[in-house]
Structures are given as C-alpha cells and as structure tokens.
C-alpha cells in the first residue's frame, strides 16, 4: 500500500530552488451552512509546473480554488505565496497577488463585447478614459495566442458558443499577467483541437515560470499536460505529490473514490433488426446552421453525433426538440409528426433533452434539487392542479439514489451542488419523466471518472429498456464507446455515418478535418 496520506513536513532548509513552492495552502477548511466542503486541504504548487487537482464531483476542488481566488472565505487555514502568508479577502486581492482564475461555470457578461469582458474590472485607462484601442489590440493578441484569431474583440459575448465564452474567460485570465493561473475544468466545453491549443498556451506560460493549477476529469489530459497531482476526497487531501505521467490510473481512481471502479464502456447488445423506429428525422434544416440532416433511431438504439464544437450538433438536438424553429424538414416520434418550434409538443410526444449549458438552460438554481428534478413532471405528479410535494420528493430521492448524486439531500438549492452533480440532477429529471427519446448534449461534461462509467451504464440500461437515445459529445472515445451508430457532423452537415464498431477515433478526426477544409 502506498502511504499517500503521510504528513509532509515543511521543506527542509536549503532545498533546491525549484522545490520551493510558489504557492502553499495549508489546512484549508470551509464550511457552508449544512455542508463541510473542505475539511483540511493541503496543496503546494511549484513555479513553472502544471499542478493537477483530481477528485470526484463534490470533492471540493472548485471550493478550494474559490478560496484561493478570494470568492469564498475559508473557515480556517493558511495561504502562503512566495514564502509570505497572505489574506485574500476578495477577488481583487487575489489578482493583486498574481492569482488569476478561470471558473468552472462561465462568468462572462453576455451583453458586453469580447474585449470589454477580457478587461472587465481592470479596464485600461488613462485619466479615467478607457483605452479602447489598446484593449482591443491586446485582446486580439491574446485570442491569437489561444488559437482563435477568428473571434472578433468587438463581438458581443452573448452570441458566442459555450466554447467561445470559455476562450474569452481564458483570455481574461491571461490579461492579468498572473504568477499562478487556476483553471477549473477549462476543457469541459472544448473539443480535441481546442484542448491542444490550450495546452500550447499552458506550456508557454509554464516556460515563463507561471504555475498552473489544472482541474479536469479527463485523465488523458492530465497525463499529457500535468506534472504533479493532488487528489482530494470528501474535502481532504488524500494523495499528494503524485507524478502525473506515471501514477497508474487504477491507483488514482482508488484514491478518488476509495474503491475499485473499472473504467469501461458497457457492452452493446446490438439492436434487433425489427426494433421499431422511434425517432425519425428527415431533411432537417436550420438556416445558416445546418441542413439536410436525416437519421432514424430505433427503440433501444444509441446514436452518437461526433464532431467539433460549433459543427452544429447541439443545434440539431435543440431544433428537433422544438427549442428552435426548423426552417425545413420534419421530425416524427413513433410515426407522429411534431409541430415545429414547440418544446411542449416534443415533451408531450416523449422527447427529453439534457441541454449543454446546465446553468443557463437546465437548472432553476435557487430552487431545491427535488423541484429541479421534477421540473418537467410536477404537473403530472400533481392531482388536479394541487402539487404533491411528498410524491415529488420521493421521486427525486429515487433518482438521487440511482444516480449517486451527492450530497443526497433533495431540499438544498441546486446552486450548492457541484458541477457534476448538477448534471446528474438534469438527467434525473428525464428519468422521472420517462422518455421514448432521450437527447443528451455533452452528458458527461464535468462528471467525474467514477460517475462516468455509472452514467454510461445507466444510458445503456435505458436504451436496453427501449429508449431511443441521441448523444452529442466532444469526446470522441465517448461517442464511439457508447453509441451503436455514429454520425460525423462537420459544418452543419452529416459527412459520414457508420456503425460504431466500424470506425475509430482517427477516422472521425480525419473526417471532421476534411469536412472543415472542404
């Protein structure tokens, strides 16, 4: 057994220079009303390293970095930067100390332009007048470094995709000249190519001695970019100073979850030939976004849409769900054509959608978890217009248990759930509802490794029970591993379709790239 829990003493005097931590957090404790998010976390970060934070959903990663960013005040604990103990009473103090943060949940202002967002709170000015031209120039420069010269600094942020917004918040972090940059699941909304861009930027930063704290649930990324790993579990540091490249996956997962989870996709039983077609999409089009999209999903089948962010996959889901008004084509569920642009018609016909942006599109954040889970069913559970909250709570509790959503209390506000658990609550909504067609847009975004395999198994079980499932994911292995049938989407067109076992990751990437060039 590896003794990962040993208490590191302070580094010995006269240690090698690079071993002197740039940042040190000691015994950080953070209590929320009713929850102990952090219960003594230690973290030390060396200059020029990429330090990865690993942990299950709700382990306390985001809370820890919010303490570092001055967004939360720790109940107790010390933060030492460059050998000096510092206090971070508010976010501006963190920036002044050279700690910049990219939050897990997008924190851009939709109504402002890209450049205004990047310099929000630290506008360049001379004598009170903002230096717009200078701001725009350096925004353009940062977007170029991030591999996105096509985003205009003048563009209104609200009109960018989720990935675009993520790029903007990264540009904002870069604009601060920070010594420590914290990134909370930055890759969650990015596709493979963009993640590589991000890594190039990260390497550029670390070469200048900037330390990067990197949070991700994707182990492949951590292997690729990380230097050392700290593992959190239930608000405590349970593993420290682990080499990112060589620590075995099984060991990491065991530390995170406290048990042995095998990380694999469920087996595909194969869809019987005579399974009825449940969802029939024909020549669907949304002007300026995608066209000529046709596919069928049979009962028990999982169809995956692979492609780059911005290829139009989410829009395809939203359009067939009625959230956008299609410009051509038809959508039918079990042979019945759906009215265009009507979500309630789609829901009544048995379609459910787990949207991509769970905060803005999915959850009513200040409402309790159970009401979020029953948001599309409370009227059905109610009797003659009178709510039956007891039945609602019971239904929600059942899903909370089935999905292993934590903490298990259903009366807390959805806002207080960690990112991955919010995702589970959304899935729970449609499980209570019971759909014939389930549309999943990035279902595992922000979901931890342990819960992922549970989620895959759950989706498979739903399919086996006769649900037709459509999955959109930017993680190609996920689409290939989970789906029976894969459609590759590029620039609003389906460029290829194949049974999942007949296609591999490289082929998908090739197809996507070809489509982009063409």
């Amino acid at each position: 057994m590896v003794d990962v829990d040993r208490d590191d003493a302070a580094p010995p005097e006269g240690a090698d220079a690079p071993d002197v931590p740039l940042l040190r957090m000691e015994g950080i404790v953070k209590h929320f009303p009713g929850a102990k998010a952090l219960d003594g976390v230690d973290l030390d970060v060396l200059p020029g390293e990429v330090h990865c934070l690993l942990g299950q959903n709700g382990a306390g990663k985001s809370t820890l970095i919010k303490v570092l960013a001055g967004a939360h005040q720790p109940t107790s604990g010390r933060i030492v930067l460059d050998g000096e103990e510092i206090a971070i009473p508010h976010p501006v103090a963190a920036l002044r100390h050279g700690v910049a943060t990219i939050y897990q949940e997008l924190d851009v202002v939709d109504g402002l332009t890209v450049a205004e967002n990047v310099f929000l709170g630290h506008e360049l000015d001379r004598g009170g007048f903002t230096q717009r031209r200078e701001a725009i120039r350096s925004t353009r420069e940062m977007l170029r470094r991030l591999g996105h010269p096509e985003i205009s600094p003048h563009r209104e942020v609200g009109r960018l995709s989720a990935a675009g917004k993520q790029i903007v918040s990264m540009a904002r972090a870069l604009s601060h000249d920070a010594r420590v940059i914290v990134m909370d699941e930055p890759s969650a909304v990015l596709d493979a190519g963009e993640v590589q861009n991000l890594f190039r930027v990260v390497r550029g930063l670390t070469a200048q001695g900037v330390a990067v704290v990197y949070i991700s649930h994707r182990l492949e990324e951590i292997r690729q970019i990380g230097d050392r790993i700290t593992v959190l579990k239930n608000g405590r540091t349970v593993g420290r100073d682990l080499p990112a490249a060589t620590t075995p996956t099984a060991e990491l997962i065991r530390l995170m979850t406290g048990r042995n989870v095998e990380y694999a996709f469920p087996t595909r039983p194969g869809v019987p030939e005579d399974a009825p077609v449940v969802l029939d999409v024909e020549d669907l089009a949304l002007a300026g976004t995608f066209e000529d999209v046709s596919f069928q999903v049979r009962a028990g089948e999982i169809v995956g849409l692979a492609g780059l962010v911005g290829a139009g996959r989410s829009e395809i889901l939203e359009t067939l769900y009625g959230a956008r008004r299609r410009t051509a084509g038809s959508v039918a569920v079990k042979g019945r054509r759906l009215r265009s642009g009507s979500v309630d018609a789609a829901v009544a016909a048995g379609i459910g959608l787990c949207p991509e942006e769970r905060k803005s599109q999915g959850l009513v954040l200040d409402e309790p978890v159970y009401r979020n889970i029953t948001l599309s069913t409370f009227a059905r559970i109610a009797r003659g217009g009178w709510l039956d909250e007891r039945a609602e709570r019971a239904a929600a509790r059942e899903q909370v248990a089935a999905l292993d959503l934590r903490p298990a209390g259903v009366d807390r506000a959805a806002r207080t759930l960690s990112g991955g658990n919010q995702q589970k609550a959304l899935l729970g909504r449609w499980l209570v509802h019971g759909c014939d067609v389930l549309l999943l847009d990035e279902p595992t975004r922000g979901v931890d490794v342990g819960a992922r395999s549970e989620l895959y198994a759950l989706v498979r079980r739903l399919a086996d029970a006769g649900t037709a499932v459509v999955v959109v994911s930017s993680e190609i292995p996920e689409v290939l591993g989970l789906a029976d049938h894969v459609l590759v989407v590029s620039e609003g067109r389906v460029v290829h379709r194949a049974p999942a076992q007949d296609i591999d990751e490289h082929r998908v990437l090739d197809l996507v790239m070809e489509g982009t060039v063409a």
Binding site: P33, K36, A71, A379
Partner: protein, 334 residues
Amino acid sequence: MSTQVDASPAAESRSSWLSGPAGRTVGLVVALVLLAVVGVITGGERFASLDNVMTILRLASVTGVLAIGMTFVITAGGIDLSVGSVLGLATVWASTLATQTMAEDLHWTVMVLTGLAVGTAAGLINGLIIAYGKVVAFIATLAMMIAARGLAEMISGRQTQVVQVDGFLDFVRADFIGVPVLVWMFVVVAVAGWFLFNRTTFGRRTVAVGGNAEASRLAGIKVQRHLLYVYGLSGLTAGIAGVMMLGRTTAGTSTNGLYYELEVIAAVVVGGTLLIGGRGTIVGTVIGVLIFAMLTNVFTINNLSISAQNVAKGVIIVVAVLIQQRFAARSTST
C-alpha cells in the same frame, strides 16, 4: 465520510429554517411589532383601540389585494405598473350610469362582475403584449398605466360617479362578525393567493419561470401562456381592488388608485419577494402591506404630514431590502 456533508434530514431542516423563508418572516413580524409599539407609545389609546385596528386593516385591504397579484407577477420575473390605473378604470366602469342602471334592474353583482371583467381584460392585454409581443414588462405595463387612466377619464368625463345601488353598498360596507367585509375580501384573496402560490402547479410554474425562463421552457413548461395568465391574475386582483375601492369611497373617479402601484411594489419587495424573480412569499407580502398601512396610521394619528410619511416609507424600503440581502446572502452562498 461522515465528515463531509451533514445531510441528515434534521440538519437540513434546521439550517433551511433559520435562513429560509420562515427566518425572513420572523424578521418582518418583529418589524411590525416594533412599529405597533411605537404606535402605542405615541398614540396611546387612539392607536390601540379596536376601531383603529379595523381602520388599519381597511386601509391595508385594497393595496393588499393588489399586492397579492403583484407577488405573482414579480416572482415570475415581471412587473406590473398598471395596477393603480386599472383599479381606477374598474371603479369608473363599474359605476357608470349604464352599469348602475343595469345593476338596479338585474342585480347589484353586475357592478362587481363589471369591475372584475375590466381588470382581467386589462391584465390579459398586458400579458399578450409581454408574453407574445415580447415587449419588456416595464414598458408594456407603463403604457397600460397611462392608457387605462386616460380611458377612465374619457368614460367618466372627469366627473365623480356616485354609487347609488343600495344592494352593492349594503354588501361592501357591511360588517361580518365585527370585521368589515372589505377586510374579509382581503383575507379571502390572501388565503386563496397563498394556496395558489404554494400548493398548486400554477404557483410552481410562476417560481420556475421567474427563476429561469429558458430552463423552464426546455423542461416543457408553456412559459408564454403562463405569463399571460400571471398578468391576467394581476388584472383580476386590480379589478377586485377596484370593487373594494368603490365600496369604501362610494364613488368611481378616474383618480382612484393614483400611485398605488408604487406602494404595492414596495410592500411586495419589503415582504421578501425578489424583484428579479424566482422567489416570492405571500405571507411576506401581507406583512409588508400591513407595515405600510400601520405606518400611515401612526403618522396620521400623530398629525404628521404626508411628506414626513413618505420620507419614512422611503427609508423603510431601503432598510428592509438591505436586511433581506443579508438573509439572501446567508442562504445561498458564502
């Protein structure tokens, strides 16, 4: 494991009781009691008499009914600036010569039904323009506020229309178990509003739509239709309040309900309903209305000017909202 989250049901209910709605309500009740103490100290017998209590309640009942409808609108993420004008229009329309003649011929409830119909119609027009025309609620109801007042002036010719239908007057000016019918009407509307808000799918939709309209839409809630109903409901309460006003003043004039929307919105917000939507409380609204009515009463008893009253009301609004933000901050994050 057990160290992470204290998720036992007991702990959950304890923390949510202190920082939740009940905690805020306790704060409001304390404020109301303090105000009553001030009233007793400064006004003595004149304040503490049963008669005066009824006066306060009668004062509170008209704005109170408006405030119940407004609670739904604000919780749904909207605002209704037109309630005062619609109230005025309802009093005028329900007391025209034509309506009164018809009421004499048929039944006095014709006046009541006219008031309710006028209010509901105005509310539904607001709702149509806001939900389907996608006009910002502030603008749409501002327009209605101006137009309804204008219409009321046109119909009445700026004359005061005295109510002469005895059946109507006998009903609204009566007492029931020692309490004025007006107050009973407020009680009925408030209780019905409480059930509608807290116990029905209508109330749940209102909170969900106000909390996150897009998420509600994607969950299959008919957001536009619901907003139509919510504004219709606000119009209905304006109609009810109009009928009550007609009973209290025995006259319909186009100036009835002038500036009521401001006091109503203030009472709702002081009561703890979030102006940005997504959270509301009927109990809070009722207490908010009582606070304002009692304040007016205390000032009147002490012969203080309306101007001084308004200054005090302004201060109360700010203080109440400041206190609420403390509570709100404690119950959500940090």
